[in-house]
Subunit: 351 residues, 4 copies
């Protein structure tokens, strides 16, 4: 039942609803001696901030992290790292509509089914706001992994059905929509404006690459690296598919095309996405996630009330048109957290 923890050795536990006093969490298991500061984490948090782009809401949260423990004189001590992020935007609103009516595509109905009740303000625990804690955890995992030569980058491969090419994944970090393709930005902006005018929303595809991962990470037969990555990414709201390497396409290849030939200087291709038998091979790890369109739309939708009566709902207010780009740093964080955990599991057998 305790579904708010992620990881076995490098473990993130989070708490917090959209409109409570604060969200936050605990990172337990991070080794001592890692350089870490609020600023390092804040930089990552700023990447997923609301209001950062055309696809996002105007909700203003400064999303300031407070580090509460586990860091002393600038480095981690090896003990639990506690942190919190205040919820600043708690304006009193009229929630009577969402309180009694289930929004299609949202978790309103299922939270009620599961818990018998829910904090309906702003989505409660099901709000995307909880992902800020994942980004904070990912920033700590980054600090740990960067010192070991691992680098993770995430970027948007597709938005509203319009693909980008992987021209410049390195530059994507500082480009609108985390786009690896400068050309795609204009087309995506256009598409978002169009859909916004229709009161509708868009989905997309995010790819995450991990470079510098040594061969040997992953714990067969169940905690394979690809299995843990799929779990990590699918746990992010809005993700509906996870692919590794060639992914869905590998089902349509023959073995002679799908197998990556091995040469003395490395693999000749990377359909495997850097993972063989559930263990990293030393090649770049490639994960791809399909992200569904934001369910909050201003078009009228059919639904039911809490007591099962037919009704319609038109969701007003300012909502994101797409989970992209804000979901990009979140998925990056989930890959970082997974790798840190698998790194330590592998390290445990070295002494």
């Amino acid at each position: 039942m305790s579904g708010s923890s992620f990881g076995q050795m490098f473990r993130l536990t989070t708490f917090g609803e959209s409109h409570g006093p604060a969200i936050g969490g605990v990172i337990d298991g991070c080794p001592p001696g890692i350089l870490l500061s609020e600023e390092t984490i804040q930089q990552e948090l700023d990447r997923r901030k609301p209001g950062a782009g055309i696809a996002s809401t105007a909700r203003k949260e400064s999303d300031r992290i407070s580090l509460l423990s586990g860091v002393f004189e600038g480095v981690t001590t090896g003990t639990a790292i506690g942190f919190s992020i205040a919820n600043e935007d708690q304006r009193s609103r009229d929630y009577s509509q969402v309180k009694d009516v289930y929004r299609p595509g949202h978790a309103d109905l299922t939270y009620d089914a599961k818990y018998g009740q829910r904090d309906y303000r702003g989505g409660g625990r099901a709000s995307g706001r909880e992902t800020a804690c994942r980004v904070a955890g990912g920033a700590v995992a980054h600090a740990f992994l960067a010192a070991r030569g691992v680098r993770v980058r995430a970027y948007t491969l597709e938005l509203g059905g319009i693909p980008a090419s992987r021209l410049d994944p390195e530059g994507a970090q500082d480009r609108a929509f985390f786009s690896p393709d400068p050309q795609a930005v204009a087309a995506w902006t256009e598409r978002i404006k169009e859909v916004k005018g229709q009161g509708d929303s868009l989905g997309g595809v995010v790819e995450i690459q991990a470079l510098g991962v040594p061969a040997g990470l992953g714990e067969p037969v169940f905690d394979k690296l690809d299995a843990r990555l799929a779990y990590a990414c699918m746990s992010v709201g809005a993700v509906k598919a996870v692919e590794i390497g060639a992914g869905v396409q590998s089902a349509r290849m023959t073995g002679s095309h799908n197998n990556d030939p091995i040469t003395p200087s490395g693999f000749a291709s990377n359909n495997a996405g850097g993972i063989l038998g559930g263990i990293s091979s030393g090649q770049p790890i490639i994960v791809r996630c399909a992200v569904k369109p934001i369910p909050s739309i201003s078009q009228e939708q059919r639904t039911v009330t809490r007591d099962g009566q037919a009704t319609t709902i038109t969701i007003g207010g300012r909502h994101d048109i797409s989970a992209i780009p804000r979901i990009v740093p979140v998925l990056k964080a989930m890959v970082l957290l997974t790798l840190a955990d698998m790194w330590m599991l592998q390290a445990a057998r070295r002494y």
Copy 2:
């Protein structure tokens, strides 16, 4: 490191290599009072047996399960259920080739990287043979869930790029390739013969449906039902992508098309695949897995020796042409095991 356990409450732990004395496992946490016998489990095991179809090897294993504990007078006692399956086909062979040469697409290289050594006979722990234990565990999960009205069925949606329609998922269980479409069988058989002649292999797509799952299963924010299903299915060797409901396609829809309208008599569509906010909604759960082609092919492939020298390998012997259909009961088992576990996690908060 202990990656051989799956599940928190309803937990399967497995052991065993392809050519050791036996494979087997422990199912811990299964509630008492469930009707269970060796025959019940054997039926499921027989579905994934080698030699069961045109795509399979002629390896002859009777795969007889022995129940060693946890069942008394025909019902589970609530204590750990131990079982073993003898490895009968341990003929002495010449493994010098696979011992020193890494087969492309296999885990030879990564097991060596991880453990520094490996049992190279028949793939060792990385052999698909370990999935027999998953099927045994799934059969116990089935006994638990069937008594609670849950039914899981799995079928082949695509083989070698040739799609089937979902005409008759119910009949798929007893049809060749677990095909839901009688028409597809002939085309697939043809394709397999063709590829076999080329010394090559094929992949495909498997879909799993769970019917009768009540609303409320899943443990946000990390142990969401979809996250656990992705983890479960991706842990099966050869699976390279996992989709829930509309999956990859949802990334290309607008919100107004992707959202499933809610009516007093239920949802009007099921793009969500029966899961909202990581919690089951009461609709059928839909999971789809892309399966890569079998890496063992008789065409010559470039690779390296254990000490890094370039060489080529031509894999002789009889190998499956496709992991389908044998992977179908395995994926069904993984969904069953996941649902049993999530069921109990949800049940824990009821008293």
Copy 3:
């Protein structure tokens, strides 16, 4: 490595050092619909506050809990409950002595050995201050269990070698030292004054009773109820022995004396301490903990510096003379947390 979490279903994760900005934690898995408020938790926290009695320091912490999530409209929502407690007493002091010299009986040496460094201010993570988070978690477990008829009480059985009788365990809650014996209070007060004058410290024995626990809690063969209770209580700093029921004395009885006869109206004695075969029997659960004397004493002690040089240390400042009575609510909390967890594990098999 992630040793800051306790419990599987009803799980407490804590963070925090003595002199960082705050301590706090997350309670995950608590079922929805439990009445809970900051005041309920505060009441328990106030019982372990510094400065509450003659054996305690004068350190002034208001130890005010802030509930940050998981409670809505006065009841738990079933989602993670986050909380924090600010560290108010962070006066700048001279820590040069404890920074470079290992205090005997403290964790200074072992934290350095484990982590290579430590937050030496006030004991850092090894400070007894972390137990406030256990008490907060225990208060939530209490809210859960009280509604199910379970009641836990803890009291001091012995202080500085002077025993109390179990005359009035019910009244102990509001008596000095949590003494079940009004007579013992004066003798203990006297003993503490005496030892304080000698610059020395005292240990004692705490007993915890759980009433109303139904038969059936405990998960053999490893997660037996007594095993989990021993783990829970021994995880509290200063505890050096845990006994169940007759405990150490049972080793000296014959079977005919130690066995508790069973009658239609219940057991005729309770040497078992309410646990048979690791499962609760329906009798009161009895746990007893031996608590070592506070290691901080103002007598001169032999020790070494961080770099291994012989030296002596005289610990000044105001320190508790005994962990009793402040440890009493902490041990009560650990028993509550254990029972809530085992309750849910057992509940999981009921549907």
Copy 4:
């Protein structure tokens, strides 16, 4: 609910009832490259065999271990190690008495309360027979730890109230009752004969020492080394108290006597039992367990039937008079398993 697994990294999962086809288990997480054979494990198993001494039953089980996986060419491969031990002594007996009547001091009543049913033959899962699997797991932990310089020895400190001195713990391994004191053997033998004549049984005290454990093992604040050791030992049936170092006596000392002075050449005493703040200090680890008398006695005892009627029971057949000496290798195994697990948890933060 899955209480049949022990350990996080070095994990033992067991199964098996007294009278089913077999008992056995899986050791998962053992690093690769450790020398291991059936013979190594068999040696340890032989130490706890029935019929090994005057205090034991004449039940004849050869207790032959079969290693089923995880070992290749004489060394561990790093994958799951499966093993089984056949139950040979399954003679058909008349169990009608124990089927319907609860034996005092046994788990009959609590298993029925928990599971609603039980395998009543020979105690079922609650039989001491399951400890053979612990010993097998401990033998693997020993192989891992011995190569790292850790040595664990266990011996009987007290039997039937008659103490031994710690004269020769090294020789205890090969002495009757695992006695560290040659003089105690005769007195204990005499006491057992006497009590046997009275149809009664005896308890005792076992001490376990771990030498060569480096400073740094243990995971505060909950998974402290002492907490995990208490959990490990208390999970063994018949253990009613666990003490670390001075244990219960530390409650009666003043701090100036209880604190172990530190000198450049090490600690001047070991009241702490080798653990400070829950972390090993480099001193010998000392654990002491109080073992209750065997509940099966041939004297008449008051009890009830399954349906609550008053009755009496006189337990016939051959039963052990004391769990000592057979419990000694079991407790040694539990300490070994704990140390192996904590070793790996600490190792995980080294890379």
